[in-house]
Amino acid sequence: MIIVSVKKQMPDFSMDATWRAGREITVLFGPSGSGKTTLLRLIAGLEQPDEGRVVIAGRVLFDDQTNLKPEQRKVGFVFQDYALFPWLTVKENILFGIPKKNRKQSAEWMQTLETTFQISQLLHKHPAHLSGGEAQRVALVRALAPKPELLLLDEPFSAVHGQLRSELRSFIKNIQQQWDIPVILVTHDLTEAHLIGDRLVRLEAGRVTYEGSVDGLAQNSSSELLAAY
């Protein structure tokens, strides 16, 4: 179980959001500027809430006594523009988060990742030579390589279209099911939210205005509101 209850005051925005998620794909959905990415960053420890609690499977990441650093949180983060290291090859990017002292184990683990995600043909390329879809896949594998307890995806579909988008959706669903890892995914696209999400949290101006099943949203929202997204 993931519990997120955070408050943060910024110069032109305030966040006061409380919600829960399970070992499933939770979609954080809302219009631009509603605080979706900020919420992911607060969970990952890249920004600090003014107060609140962030708990993953009973492990407190943040409360009034605890504030784990990002490197201590075991939270994988895939950024909207991937943030791959351009001076490293794909293989080096993926191995980046695996401690070097476990070289033998990491070689075996790399082999598993190669087979699972079918990235063998990309391993020796640099990020500059990857397509958008390939870079997205590599960013996902890199975030998963250190075996995180939670995976955060910031607008993963924004740079891919058509068939690639559908493939990426299946890819993320497969990862979640095979690895049994909770995934929190940000999107402003309601169709994507319906197609990939098990659970949906709607965020508006830093507040949670809906939390529940994806299908339940339609019953809770006016058609005008949904059309606005």
Binding site: K69, E71, A83, F85, W87, F96
Partner: protein, 223 residues
């Protein structure tokens, strides 16, 4: 031709460059990321040697480390020799003189680096120090290398500062630029020509290598 002034110039430049790598990198990182008030003032202080006449900078250093100064007396008590008119004194002056040439390319490269790469490294398990060495430095290595090479080349070519602080003691402080000046003063044009040509060729080769290397790294997306 007496090669000693040339070797001394390169030795001075190498020591200055290595020390500047250690000193300028954290300064550049601080200036690139700080949100403190007064950042502009700090940047102006570090950039001062760019506009200050070398003799003025040399004069300030000389007064600060001369035998009557606190630093000079402390140095004398510790090592039994003067700080001014020594190789070590020239190193100090060269560091101050070449500081902006090292800091500014590094700072520009740090500022241009995508901050999400640093954040990504933190979520992948690196602490702030590991992230500095494994992401910030490699990501900004074109700027770091450019800063190092520029400070090296700038130190080889300095004249006014080293003349003020080091004088012209053969084998100790008489570097190539001062030796060339003295050769010309003594109408020894053959020696002046030879030394000047060596410096010209050296500068050209260094800059060519840097530009070539920077272009290759830029293709990989490093700054």
């Amino acid at each position: 031709m007496n090669w000693q002034p040339l070797w001394l110039s390169f030795e001075l430049a190498l020591v200055t460059m290595l020390l500047l790598l250690v000193i300028a990198t954290p300064i550049a990182r601080f200036l690139a990321f700080t949100r403190m008030r007064g950042r502009g003032v700090m940047e102006a202080v570090f950039a001062l040697p760019l506009v200050l006449p070398p003799t003025v900078l040399g004069y300030f250093v000389l007064v600060s480390i001369g035998s009557r100064s606190t630093v000079g007396q402390w140095y004398h008590d510790l090592f039994g020799t003067t700080f001014a008119f020594s190789f070590e004194g020239m190193v100090l002056a060269s560091i101050l003189y070449s500081l902006p040439f090292a800091v500014q390319p590094m700072q520009n490269a740090f500022e241009a680096l995508d901050k999400r790469m640093i954040e990504a490294s933190r979520t992948l398990g690196l602490n702030a120090w590991q992230s500095f060495f494994r992401v910030l430095l490699p990501g900004a290595r074109v700027g770091v290398i450019t800063g190092a090479v520029l400070s090296f080349a700038h130190t080889v070519g300095e004249f006014g500062v080293v003349l003020m602080v080091g004088g012209s003691i053969p084998g100790e402080t008489r570097v190539a630029s001062i030796a060339i000046y003295e050769h010309v003063e003594n109408l020894e044009y053959a020696d002046a020509n030879a030394m000047a040509l060596v410096l010209l060729a050296f500068s050209f080769i260094v800059l060519s290598v840097v530009y070539h290397y920077n272009r290759r790294l830029s293709r990989l997306g490093t700054l």
